[in-house]
Symmetry: C2
Subunit: 482 residues, 2 copies
């Protein structure tokens, strides 16, 4: 991978600005067709893309096959969503001489694309959160050109995916400059500070994401930065659930926390269980039977080793299963502490450990459970295994929904479906933009901004705001929703 | 005005946190009733509020009467909007074993209130952008308690408005802590950095707003900061319009730029006219007949004097009408430069001057006009007076809509209606949050965040997401919009 040179980056940015003006004005049906063409081209290139992904990510073929299918499904779902035009949020207020605060002019509002967007690829989803992943798909769907900062963990896959994507988009009629691959950390830092870039989207580490957020916020003209930085994803087992189905819960948890070598931002990293429950021993038993597996790359392996070592060395933590050996492929590892210790000093015990490790937190009673849950910072997900009529449940769900973007009742947080109701986000440090999601159709909203037009003749209005509604988009008219 | 002491502020924050938990769960009909009760109480207290406002702001009674009407209309409009429940954006995806990327769990998403919000009052709208103004109304409508930082320009009015508002809210059944007045700059800085505060909203100067934005972004856990900081609001007169109705345009512009002693964030501060047009002379003639008037307070007067003096002293600027005398009540003042100078060095010529001054910018041809327009930073508004069939119009509207939140065809930007389609925002420095508005029903969106619930039994779901839809809110179900 060769770092993108400054002059080349400058040319890519100019091309993106030119493309933005074209994207803004072309019909939604064309934009949808570009996305579908991209999905088809990626599916058609699967036999070349999958071996590259396998080689560079060390992830097994079936997982990668499924991930590519998810990625192209996502492009097609956004295409469908684009065609409805509902995301434009078109609102028409006709002039009204009797409006309650005084005469109202004709005023029409819709969302328009922000402009060129910088997207950082993640290492742990070489398809779904990388070159042609969710951030790229949602930005293109919103009508924004994308400058994609490749992840150095899968350089050849990135280059091939970018070529397939860009060629498919332009062959389908999208303007040159609609998509470009950028390589190198320096190029990324240049991008987020360039006046031509209107937003950033990132999935990765707290440290890397916060550094980029700080650059975006520190610009002379700050821009939105949508960072998905990390999450511990606490899972709670109530006393009732622990008594009713300990084995089932233990099996589910062991599978979820070890899936993909624990390299998911939604990995359940903490399991809160009632003291005296058999769940921890059952989890430890299952994990003990699992072999180690290679991680995505050496840097992630080193980071995992250090974080795990620090947690295991904490005086209130004991190791129940697995290994903290920094030289072996990591085996799923279970540690244990108490809720009282979490309440006393939450930070070191609730921080994300990216990899196949989880911490069991034993609580004495429901009050201690709630106190421990309140000690958590912002989360992507929070899970409850409980019985619907247990007294603690409403307070538990309220407390978790204050802290997490997605709250699960039963099941496990790994596996994030792409749909209309998905929410992949949460208060900091889960993300840097609490009001947004990076998965699901609502992810488009991040790359749009409202513009109101006052008193324009019909012919000068953008088509979605015209009285004849030539694009047949939903329009809220004089307060009445479609 | 006594600065709020740290211990008192701490207690107010705790009360706001307690109130947030109550607000979140109470039915929307109750929240709407609180807002209506507040509107009624403010209207009922008009005879006490208006003289205070007149005395402290130096604004004339008719303007203040209208502004109070706007303020209570706004509270009632938000009440209506709350009751529809549409702002919750409820989305239900039922479990689907045949979902394109693999089986989909039951997933339901809605927007929930962020929590306690800090709002800074503005000086120039002692009702509509102050204690009970748009930020307060939209935050309460969204279900967020408000800590309102009073503007020192109208302390007694602030205290009385706050008392009326708080008493009305709690008498109507809202929890204690739903609203509190905070006084003093230090208290404001403490608020924006307090972990209990979940967002900030501000209308005021670029310097003050940027300082608060930097504090919000620099927190260990950054929060959204919605700052409305300033705008020059360029207005363009095309060659066609200048030829067709110079007198009408000159009269409209002179009225708009001098309205309220030029103390509006939407004051048109630059008028771009074709070289040789009679418009500037006609404007100067009208302004020459207007008397000086006192500004809101000494600090604003000083700031205006300095900004105007700097602009008038610029070697490419000449004074056409008015006065730069720093000791007199400011009279409407008109200055002139050329588009070529604006393109050559935009910053000093396009910066906001808060007060009754405006700069005429003469352009040679349409290409120079477009170049000059491209030299502007983010704007709240941009206005065009043109003929629909002029060749320059489409490019002009496109260029302006890339830079402004509201684009007007004819008319003038002062006078911002509160409605469904209103957009009061724009790229930096108009605001610090390009995707949002601080006026109109969409202003509520700033204080909400999405939460998805996966696999919850119906009885444990928030009412807006239940199958029976007990609150009768619009629900998007399995992709089908209501």
């Amino acid at each position: 991978m060769t770092d993108t040179a400054p002059a080349e980056l400058d040319a890519l940015l100019d091309a993106a600005v030119a493309a933005a003006a074209v994207l803004r004005d072309r019909p939604l049906t064309e934009r949808a067709a570009w996305l579908r063409a991209a999905a088809e081209a990626l599916d058609a290139d699967a036999e070349a893309l999958l071996p590259l992904a396998e080689e560079e990510s060390h992830l097994p073929r079936p997982r990668l096959t499924g991930e590519l299918a998810r990625t192209t499904f996502q492009l097609r779902l956004f295409a469908d969503e684009v065609e409805t035009g509902a995301f434009l949020d078109a609102v028409i207020d006709h002039a009204d001489p009797d409006w309650g605060m005084g005469p109202r002019p004709d005023l029409r509002r819709m969302l328009v694309p922000l402009g060129p967007v910088a997207v950082w690829a993640a290492s742990n989803f070489p398809f779904a959160f990388s070159v042609a992943g969710g951030d790229t798909a949602s930005a293109l769907a919103a009508g924004c050109p994308v400058l994609l900062v490749a992840h150095p963990g899968h350089p050849r896959l990135s280059e091939r995916t970018a070529r397939v994507l860009r060629d498919a988009l332009t062959a389908a009629g999208a303007p040159d400059g609609v998509f470009a691959l950028v390589e190198g950390q320096d190029a990324g830092r240049t991008l987020i500070q360039d006046p031509r870039v209107t937003a950033g989207a990132f999935t990765g580490s707290l440290r890397g994401g916060r550094a980029l957020f700080d650059l975006a916020a520190g610009r002379e003209a700050p821009i939105p930065f949508y960072g998905e930085l990390g999450s511990t994803n606490p899972a709670v087992v109530t006393r009732g659930a622990a008594g009713a189905r300990a084995a089932e819960i233990a099996e589910g948890f062991a599978g979820s926390m070890s899936l993909g070598v624990g390299q998911f931002c939604t990995k359940p990293g903490v399991l809160l269980v009632p003291a005296g429950s058999e769940v921890p021993a059952l989890v430890a038993e299952r994990l003990g039977a699992m072999a180690g597996a290679p991680m995505l790359n050496g840097r992630i392996r080193d980071g995992y080793g250090q974080a795990l070592e620090a947690l295991a060395a904490h005086e209130v933590v004991e190791v129940l299963a697995g290994s903290v050996d920094p030289d072996a492929d990591p085996a799923p590892t279970l540690l244990r502490t108490s809720a009282a210790e979490v309440v006393a000093d939450p930070r070191p015990l609730t921080a994300e450990v990216f990899g196949p490790a989880a911490l069991v937190v034993e609580y004495a009673d429901d009050a201690e459970l709630l106190d421990a849950v309140r000690a958590f910072e912002g989360q992507l997900t929070a899970t409850v295994h409980g019985e619907p009529d247990e007294q603690v449940v409403p307070a538990l769900l309220d407390t978790l929904s204050e802290r997490a973007g997605r709250v699960l009742w039963g099941g496990w947080p790994t596996g994030v479906t792409v749909s209309y109701a998905q929410q992949h986000g949460g208060p900091y440090p889960a993300t840097t933009a609490v009001g947004t999601t990076s998965v699901g159709t609502a992810a488009m909203e991040r790359f749009l901004r409202p513009v109101a037009y006052q008193g324009l003749p019909d012919a000068l209005l953008p088509p979605p705001l015209r009285d004849g509604n030539p694009w047949a988009v939903p329009q809220r008219i004089d307060g009445t929703r479609p």
